[in-house]
Assembly symmetry: C2
């Protein structure tokens, strides 16, 4: 499927909105609503949806459940993805606590930290390990996605270990640029870029 990253990103946001609508028993939604969610025009949204070859549009709008299921299938969002998080400081544990993940298809199967002390003290229902076991655990548990929440200086080393262990993608919360091979999907949560994105539109 040759969708642009921008299209995929918009579809992922729309998918989250459809889930929200479904939970609230709302049956139909308009491309205008989706456009508001992703910050684009309704024309772009309709183009994104039709580029996936999807129908499901009626005079009442898009059928929420149908469209959600179709988008989920097209982007393979409906399967469960084994995920781990590296770095259990404030940010890492905040991400672990982030309630949305739980039912959203991301199965957090392991956490890692370099501090044995922290591993012993931490209260979390997921299993935690010293970072020395990162590569092995990722291999053993077939973890596909790694979240990096370590200090900047350690981020590249952690990314290398995740990749050696076999992850297919990385979500990087560390405010540093990391290099990955072309076949690895990398996305940076760039907090500064997000603040600027708000401020630039004042």
């Amino acid at each position: 499927m040759s969708l642009s990253n921008n299209t995929i990103e918009r579809i992922c946001r729309i998918y989250g909105y459809l889930e929200y609508l479904e939970k609230n028993n709302i049956e139909y939604a308009s491309s205008k609503e989706f456009a508001g969610i992703v910050g684009t025009t309704d024309y772009s949204v309709r183009k994104d949806i039709s580029s996936l070859g999807l129908t499901g549009f009626s005079r009442r709008g898009y059928a929420v459940k149908l469209l959600k299921d179709q988008l989920g299938e097209k982007l393979k969002l409906s399967r469960t993805i084994k995920t781990c998080i590296v770095g259990l400081g404030k940010l890492g544990t905040a991400i672990l606590d982030y309630e949305s993940f739980r039912d959203d298809g991301f199965n957090m199967v392991a956490g890692f930290d370099s501090s044995i002390n922290k591993i012993e003290r931490i209260h979390t229902p997921i299993e935690v390990f010293p970072v020395g076991q990162l590569e092995d655990i990722v291999k053993q548990r077939s973890i596909e996605l790694g979240i990096i929440a370590v200090p900047p200086v350690a981020a590249q080393d952690i990314a290398d270990k995740l990749i050696k262990g076999g992850v297919k993608g990385i979500l990087n919360f560390s405010p540093v640029r990391i290099a990955v091979p072309e076949e690895i999907v990398l996305h940076n949560m760039d907090f500064t870029a997000a603040l600027r994105f708000v401020a630039a539109r004042f």
Copy 2:
């Protein structure tokens, strides 16, 4: 300036990359590098930059410092934005510690929490206040941008108070949808959408 949100978002990311290059004394960069950073084509990047009416392109590529200054001016990114954060739990304090903000033009002038206990215990160089003072402090200090890191149930109420106080924009880290008037700029840091954006490209 009638730039699309997508263009503004890409430019903000490119701006951050230019800062990084400048800090590392790199003088020239190519549209291909920018494309890698924002996940688009170099054609799109050149179109984004030229849509701002910018030049600065030579055979050696874009001149890093010149382009950064130009983009900063066009998007008004070079001025300092008074910012506050509401919710000083794990995520909120992690955001406060996030090192990128410090020199990036966001002046964190206040923090707020509903727990007096937490306000007394917290170690941070910024001034912290009980959330009851939110609207007043935002007004008094002319805070323009509010970061929401409170539990989902409180997010809408906090957004309303920030807006009454006079902020122009909100960066929402809470995994819930909040409603704001049309003139307020809202951006959601949607962690689940980010994870999906990675997984959909495996």
